[in-house]
Symmetry: C4
Subunit: 217 residues, 4 copies
């Protein structure tokens, strides 16, 4: 009866939440490229004129790549988290929508910091945006694994603890970058570059998760 009741209560399965989320991520990822403006060169220009201009855009390409990787991190995070979700309710949906709202702001922040790479304010805005995305995913994890009980009961407490730590690393690093931005804007930008690398090459995380899964058998 439990499942029937939960369906009657919310009437929402996780399938559509995932489709909406995947689409929002896909659009945010793809549309940032439309802010890369094709450089202008005179019609009859010869030599490496156009290449020079394209290389001159390296900063915009880099910030685009970073934002893409950041979106990738949070998409994987959302995917990992929702793998354990069994049902949804109204509150869970609104937390997820707030998370998506913060995600849709990333292209704006990216363009902002892409245009003003050395302005402290832009770097802080970018950091606050990224931190917000991470915090909202954290809030959803907290809510779903809490009394609402939306996750699979088989989810090992150690896996939950690890997931929480993993998700909080992002906002924590952003906080550091924001503080650093007051003194050394360039160093802060570097930090944004390091965080993605940390996530991509997550040292041993999957091994630890699989250890808990093994002991569980």
């Amino acid at each position: 009866m439990t499942e029937k009741k939960s369906i009657a209560m919310a009437g929402l399965t996780k399938g559509r939440v995932e489709t909406l989320t995947d689409s929002v991520f896909a659009i945010a990822m793809t549309l940032m490229v439309f802010n890369l403006r094709v450089p202008e060169v005179p019609a009859g220009s010869v030599g490496w004129e156009l290449s020079r201009k394209l290389i001159g855009m390296w900063h915009e390409f880099t910030i685009y790549a970073i934002s893409f990787v950041v979106l990738g991190i949070y998409w994987i995070g959302h995917h990992n988290h929702f793998h354990w979700i069994r049902k949804t309710d109204r509150k869970s949906l609104w937390i997820n929508l707030a998370f998506l709202f913060a995600v849709t702001l990333i292209p704006f922040s990216t363009i902002l910091v892409g245009r003003y790479p050395e302005q402290r304010d832009a770097i802080i805005f970018y950091g606050v945006n990224l931190a917000l995305v991470g915090l909202l995913l954290y809030v959803h994890l907290l809510y779903a694994t809490g009394p609402a009980g939306l996750v699979d009961p088989a989810m090992h407490p150690q896996v939950i603890r690890l997931a929480k730590k993993l998700i909080l690393t992002g906002p924590a690093a952003c906080l550091v970058a924001i503080i650093v931005a007051f003194f050394h804007p360039r160093v802060a930008t570097l930090l944004y570059l390091l965080v993605p690398l940390f996530y991509v090459f997550l040292p041993g995380v999957d091994r630890r998760i699989s250890r808990y899964a093994r002991t569980e058998d």
Copy 2:
């Protein structure tokens, strides 16, 4: 045989209607952010110049957030409604497409009211758009739960009545806001802000729905 006949008649399952709807919502939600133009500051500007300009955009951020929440409300409404849908037919598809058409106009209305926040005409246009979205979802609910019989027969009459009331609250509030806009544009804008809050913190709705579900067992 009933199901086989219905499939032969319409040849349409609800899966693709949901995918189309989710995608349209995802695009409308994500693309509004591309109308937030990055502010212009002189290259060598110092202090909080950029921050001041960003804070000066508070009105555009607010209206974006409202529209996002409104889209969220109707997405959840559509999701809740389609949870009960068992089959579709040609009329149902066209009502849903009309609903999606009104949804795609929301980014336009949002930009309009974002640029002319104090203009009565913009506030009315926005209200008419939002009311239209709600009314078309209501029309679909009316049609699906009516003689066409597209919903699960297990859907409790009280749940249907509650869903109808819930969906009509939005257009009703928009009507009030439109009337108020003739006299106090600013108050009307405030009303648009209150309606989302009402939906997000729906007082006790899920509890009442679950009560009917329980008595049903």
Copy 3:
């Protein structure tokens, strides 16, 4: 073994073709609205200045609505057709991609005819685009129901015949509109308006299809 062989041959189920198609339609439908430019009025303008400008855009709204409905027609057509599809092969995928290519051109044609509503050339371009979409869907139907045998063998020959006639009506009407455009551009525009209406209120089609389905039982 037949199914296993077909999977080995193409390695493609219809699920992803449908997702790609639904997404392309959703984007084309939603993005056309971003070409509706918010009208410019002086900051302190009073009275119905903004409303007058919005009403002055009626032509753009109309052409947007028509294109939306046309996309809706072909989406429903694609949906109805793919309901019967059991497997895909490389040729089928490329016909479908050509169909999607023509679909992605509709926003361009719509903007073109929206800006030059009385120009014969724009009206012809629009008609050729719409006709192309319909013809490519027809080609896919022809291929899938032909020797390739991609549809469910239970699909009644009468349903196939009816589907073919239905799909060809669109391109046929476009051909008439294109010819008329040489003499009376305005009348041609009217024709584009009538075709969608014909499809939306398809007289008795579902009844006839269900009749064949019934005799089939």
Copy 4:
């Protein structure tokens, strides 16, 4: 236990990877058309003025069509490849995201080469972009069929070998086009046109794949 462990390790099924990929492709395919700017003609222009301007855009239409077909090739390639995928892990997801990143750059490259069709630099940039997409798909195939063992064990070694050869043809052709671009930019453009044709009319590939499938039975 193997499957359970793999779920615990990655927590990721292939469904959402496919949805994300399909959406990114749909957006990239659809949005390129928004760079086709509607030509400007005087309000009262008569004759074939508008048609002449539209025909004058043939180059932009051609490059759009080529990019669309190229995206279609890689979408089909990805689809064929993922048909055999049974599970995913973190590394596989990041290779796929890198692949998608290269895909999102195609609209930019397309606009670039559409505006500077005779500039060597633009032609090289376009070629490098296309080659990158192909190479990253190749890397994923290599990884998934390698020690990670993400593909169905029933995938015949000959099918793997054929798939690898097929995917590498694209980057190889791009390399040739890039070299040619240094001497004859126009010939290089022609090469980009030939590669898609080769893929669309893949001579006998499906027949060979099905042969291996048959011997397998």
